[in-house]
Symmetry: C2
Subunit: 350 residues, 2 copies
């Protein structure tokens, strides 16, 4: 069991939940759903029955290191890997892989975003264990496994995984699909061979290292130069120096799309990436008029509206239908829920 | 000149500008119009060319004494009279009158609310001087003078003063009228003998004291018991003990409506009581889409909307027409401008 590692990717700066998430306090550190726990805390606890606390690594920006340790006090500071800059997921995971290799060359690894929602944790843990068992079999050392979520609607906000055979617990992957338009999403849903790409990966360390060598040899060459510096006081300086030279590429494009031995476990454990206020709205309690409210809020003649205010604040909201009212950290947003994708542009104008 | 006194009534707790005005920071201490000065400060400065600083009295609640002195550092603490409770304007002014009587029995007095707007201060001062000159004539010692504002629209939010002869500078008052409905207000406007009641009064101290004796003898009896305590260390204890026994009645009902020697000066000096967000909206700058914004605010597809946020905050507002968005002191209000009269009910529900 002690060979099982979990890499939590927590470098996001997500502006989509502005003003809740900001550069100095991104989404993974928020308790947007009001569960009493931040996303990163929930993620950690969700994996804890499968992976011992000392085998977690969190990869994040140096600016968030203390926040990570605040939310996950079980970790020691060495378990928080600091990227000097955002370089997408392939360099991020290469760094974590090399760190793990320095202490446990035959590790099996589960990789997860820090900021997703899972409602059925028991089923989740069953699926993760199933995947780790799979990649730990000598016959599947080279398997790169993803978790595919059984789609419940023609969602256009997620990427899809197409499988060749949807009957088995663990299916070979036919292809990865970008976020589709509605028509295509409807076809995927009807077809039955398509799953939402959860962004959760499971692999053996030898398997993923071999894949990097095959598909990202330039990146591997950069990391190999410091192979003996991982888990030493020189590691951070080495990373800071080489990271900017790494190709800015995702693990999906850089490795998964090129791999010949990729699999998916079709799963159904109440998953959402809670990527937008709209998806948040789906997952929180509503009053009789469809309003999702937190805290000391009076609504009048208001429907289908999210009001999310900072603790210690109070609000009166009247005469809104299908709006978002969010107040956090001295920033206020009032907008139509349907227009939230424009948040980025508006906050640039501030 | 040193016989001229000004009483500023500053006891209001005005909830109509919630969340800007609150019990602990009512409207008179706010700079809602963004002029750089609070209402009480502007009021003080507006009278200063007519009344010397040492002849001002501010009547307010004990809770606001330090706020008053903060806004009017020219006053010494004895010039701030503290009511132990709200008992409407007749007891408030009786208190101030007795205080003045203890130091200047032949004073002439102008009484003013603390939280109104005047845009033409030169004309204002001309009118106030005209009124004080009038009541200082021995023939008019008993005159109770009001300032009537020439109406520019059929306003239903103000009381009206009906005069018998609208031709002279100083007109005898026929009657005082409550806030009218729209039809009546339109008739007042067409008639030409009706003025808005500004709540500003001018009288000689002997004249107003005689009026109190005639129309509010019970209240006078209460004050007479402490006649020799005013301007002594015992004054506050005496007031605290007797004030609760005073009738809760306005100067308008208690004195003005019963008086036989009441006059009004029809005036036109850019006056508003700024009693509502709607009236505030009239008096502040608008952008090309009719929005009244303060501070770091981005608006998108938004019209005829007031956004008023606390200094140091920022806001994005999208998709509103004719709304009010106000954020102050950890309280947020989003409502239709037309519904603002309900603010009181909403905040009771908080």
């Amino acid at each position: 069991m002690n060979n099982r590692y979990c890499i939590i990717m927590a470098g996001g700066i997500g502006s989509r939940f502005w003003p809740l998430s900001k550069n100095n306090y991104p989404k993974q550190f928020l308790d947007i759903l009001g569960t009493g726990k931040s996303f990163i805390r929930s993620t950690f606890e969700r994996f804890l029955p499968v992976v011992p606390a000392e085998n977690f690594l969190v990869v994040t920006n140096a600016a968030y290191k203390s926040l990570v340790l605040e939310h996950l006090p079980e970790l020691n500071p060495e378990q928080v890997l600091c990227e000097p800059m955002r370089r997408n997921t392939a360099p991020c995971l290469a760094y974590a892989n090399y760190r793990i290799e320095s202490v446990c060359p035959d590790a099996s690894i589960v990789v997860t975003p820090a900021d997703h929602l899972v409602t059925n944790e028991v089923e989740f843990q069953r699926v993760i264990r199933l995947g780790m068992d799979f990649v730990e079999q000598p016959a599947h050392t080279d398997a790169l496994l993803t978790i595919g979520i059984r789609p419940s609607r023609p969602e256009t906000g997620y990427g899809y995984i197409q499988v060749t055979n949807a009957q088995s617990d663990i299916c070979p992957v036919e292809s990865f699909k970008e976020k589709p338009n509605l028509e295509t999403a409807q076809a995927y849903l009807a077809d039955g061979h398509y799953y939402w790409n959860s962004g959760i990966f499971i692999w053996s360390l030898p398997g993923i290292q071999q894949a990097y060598r095959s598909y990202l040899p330039d990146m591997v060459a950069l990391f190999e130069k410091g192979r003996y510096l991982f888990n030493t006081p020189e590691e951070q300086d080495f990373i800071n120096g080489m990271f900017p030279q790494c190709e800015n590429i995702s693990i999906d494009y850089g490795v998964m799309e090129r791999s010949q031995s990729r699999y998916t476990i079709p799963a159904d454990f109440g998953w959402s990436d809670i990527g937008t206020w709209g998806s948040l709205y789906e997952h929180v309690q509503h009053d009789d008029f469809g309003n999702a409210l937190n805290g000391n809020i009076v609504v009048e003649d208001t429907r289908n509206t999210v009001v999310n205010i900072q603790e210690g604040y109070e609000a009166v909201v009247e005469g809104l239908d299908h709006y978002l009212v969010a107040l956090r950290d001295k920033s206020l947003l009032v907008c139509r829920l349907d227009d939230e994708q424009n948040i980025k542009h508006w906050i640039e104008r501030l």
